[in-house]
């Protein structure tokens, strides 16, 4: 069945190509794994997410500060309509309650909800400084002059800042942020440098309070300055003056409050969110290397060697020297197939060894992939190459001319690879921001798609039957090729 001399000859003829390609593939794999798992990419990703979260948070705070300022402003107007404003004045309190209900109705806040209580506290707090309604007022400076802008600004920003850092609200914010895959630690790590040059937390604790208060104050100052400027152009005698004034106020608040994320189209915002939750190591090692980039060189090896093993030797006539030594055709085809599959198997053993070695050096805390999944990826890699080599071997056995064997077998395999590359841009592994869904069509015209790395990494079992199909394709191709070679006429 097996011809040792022929095997030796095949090794000598194709060994250099095998070594070169195996080394190239292994180096490529090692580099990719070290880069994608080395933390740099993870940090970059965290950086993007943090910037976005921070931007959104800041804008939210600024917009809220303006809201609070306006509410405070309106409340003061109500209070000042009384000659001697007194927290115990029932009429004043009724008016204030009316105003609170008005705000809550327009914003759809139900009585008893957090939002409702917040408005309540804000409005009542404007006048009843010190009344205990469960909020911390330590930052509120004493009202000296009830009409003082500074007082209103201080009050609104102090209220907001003490509110924001309260434990209850931090929990709520964290709950919201979990969709961006931001946890408590990440949240606390959103820092800025304070006046003493220390890195302190932005949104939590005492330092957070200072930050939020400053941010709020700044935004209110800016808002007031802009409002003043805008109002100058209006005529106060105009009957629609109040209407226009309100329109300008709303526009300014909306402008300030617009966050980076909400200013982008919704789909882009969503995809950035997706980018935040993406596992880059899995994408680069699993989908890009084992399914696309890593296949290229071995496929070139397969196309060249499969052709060299049979069709090339028939075409050049050197097969005559093998057959004239009473080596059976069956032996020839069996030996050559063994060489091809064996060399691919060895190549995959090398990639397995290299990938395991690199994996040991990686900081696995950032990576969700396991050794088992990595081994499965390597097995899938081998099976895919086996099926591809089957196709090339079949055409090599079928045709007597190199150009036909390479043209058809190699062409088909290259087509599969190119289709997979194009299909990658449409496949679900890519974040939707760079995905072109219509290209997913190409995944349906390539057998490489049957190597389902997403299933392997996702922990499902669909990859098993898909790989089984690849194994069957490979075996069928090798058997048909062998039978054809045994029966055909050889022009030697």
């Amino acid at each position: 069945m097996f011809s040792k001399a022929l095997f030796k000859q095949s090794c000598k003829a194709n060994g250099i190509m095998w070594i070169t390609i195996t080394i190239a593939v292994c180096i490529m794999l090692a580099c990719l794994m070290m880069i994608s798992g080395g933390g740099n990419l993870g940090e970059m990703r965290t950086g993007i997410t943090n910037t976005m979260v921070q931007d959104t948070m800041d804008k939210q705070i600024q917009s809220r500060a303006l809201n609070y300022y306006n509410i405070t402003d309106n409340t003061l107007e109500i209070i000042n309509s009384y000659d001697s404003p007194n927290p115990t004045n029932v009429f004043l309190l009724t008016d204030l309650k009316k105003y609170i209900d008005e705000i809550c109705q327009s914003n759809n806040y139900q009585e008893g909800t957090d939002e409702y209580n917040e408005v309540l506290a804000l409005v009542y707090g404007t006048i009843i400084d010190g009344i205990d309604i469960g909020l911390d007022y330590t930052y509120l400076t004493k009202p000296i002059d009830m009409k003082d802008e500074v007082y209103m600004r201080e009050y609104a920003s102090s209220f907001l800042s003490s509110n924001m850092v309260s434990e209850q609200n931090v929990d709520k914010v964290l709950n919201q942020l979990s969709q961006y895959s931001i946890d408590e630690e990440d949240y606390k790590n959103l820092t800025y440098t304070n006046e003493q040059g220390q890195e302190v937390s932005r949104y939590t604790g005492e330092s957070g309070k200072v930050y939020i208060k400053d941010l709020s104050t700044d935004s209110i100052v800016t808002y007031l300055a802009r409002l003043e400027y805008e109002l100058e152009s209006l005529d106060p005698s105009d009957p629609s003056f109040t209407e226009q004034e309100n329109a300008i106020k709303n526009a300014l608040i909306a402008e300030v409050g617009e966050s980076f994320l909400s200013s982008l189209p919704q789909s882009v915002g969503e995809s950035l969110q997706e980018l935040g939750t993406m596992d880059l190591f899995n994408l680069i090692t699993g989908s890009i290397f084992f399914k696309v980039a890593g296949l290229l060189l071995p496929i070139i090896y397969i196309i060249m060697v499969a052709n060299n093993l049979i069709a090339g030797q028939v075409d050049s006539g050197s097969m005559a020297y093998i057959l004239s030594t009473s080596t059976k055709r069956k032996q020839v085809v069996y030996t050559q197939a063994t060489y091809l599959v064996g060399s691919l198997f060895l190549m995959c053993l090398c990639t397995t060894a290299v990938s395991f070695l690199c994996f040991m050096f990686l900081d696995t805390s950032m990576i969700t992939m396991t050794y088992g999944e990595l081994a499965l990826l390597n097995i899938g890699f081998f099976i895919t190459l086996f099926a591809i080599s089957g196709i090339s071997f079949l055409t090599s056995c079928w045709f007597n001319r190199t150009k036909h064997s390479m043209g058809i077998g190699g062409g088909l395999n290259m087509f599969f690879l190119v289709a997979t590359i194009l299909g990658l841009f449409g496949s679900k592994v890519l974040p939707s921001v760079v995905r072109i869904d219509s290209l997913n069509f190409f995944n349906y015209c390539s057998i490489i798609t049957l190597f389902d790395e997403m299933s392997i990494l996702g922990g499902t079992t669909t990859f098993i039957w898909k790989l089984a199909i690849l194994v069957v394709v490979g075996i069928v191709c090798y058997v048909i090729g062998a039978e054809k070679f045994k029966r055909k006429d050889l022009p030697l």
């Binding site: 011809s3 075409d315 050049s316 050197s318 005559a320 020297y321 080596t327 030697l492």
Partner: protein, 302 residues
Amino acid sequence: MDGVIVIQDLTKDYGKGRGIFHLNLEIKKGEMVGFVGTNGSGKTTTIRCLLGYIKPTGGKCYVLNMESWENASKIAKHIGYVPGEIGFPDLPTGTAFLKGQAEFFHIKDMSYVDEMIKKLQLDPRANLKRMSKGMKQKTALVAALMNNADILILDEPTTGLDPLMRIAFIDMIKEEHKKGKTILMSSHMFNEVEDTCDRVVLISDGHIIDVADMDKIKNRKIKDFKIEFNNKEDYEKFKKQKYKIIRDQKQYNQVTISIMDEDIDELFKDLKDYDLKFISEVKYTLEKYFREKIKEKEKQNV
């Protein structure tokens, strides 16, 4: 069957009248047979059938009483084959190639190979791909003779060799013949097989036209002479003699006559009375023989 190689009604039809049709041939042990025909007449196809590389569409061929297609690997043991188109495996040097071939044959002792290399003045260390045609032929011959097979099949082995190399090459083959090997050598050159072979098979358009016994051609009873006379009178006078004239060239006073061996004496006696410019024997060649045969065949067909 006594023949080492027996071809029975062998047909390989490639369609459109190409291929070989109903060939019959038997080659006995120790015989050296030439296989002559123009390019594309079916020589190589026949050889491929013999070696079991292609499956005939009709008829059978046997080597040592084994059917070729079924027993290709068994008969390969007994055949040394030099292919017409020499394509070596992808190996660096001639030495590597010969060593590889020896491994296929399970030959451990390379002394016979070295001896042949010496005899052929071959330097096998040269790069296989950069070898000249002659070196490649020599290397191929060494590879074919390596396992000392009883049968040698050579497909146009001398094509592309220079005349001196060709002589050396043919000598080598002749030597193998002397050792008692059965040899089948194809060629498209008549003079090459003429000198070496015992029998010559002529093939044309896939049909065997004739099998010529070289002995009979070389020792033919009838000889042709070309005679030129110095003057017209003698020429005219000679023409009136009883000799069979096969060619007459008036302008040179020249005739070519055909005569039996036993009559030659008489011819020379007669010629004493004539004033001759020259007399020379026109050699009867294989080529001439085959031309006649093909002409005959064409006449039959018409």
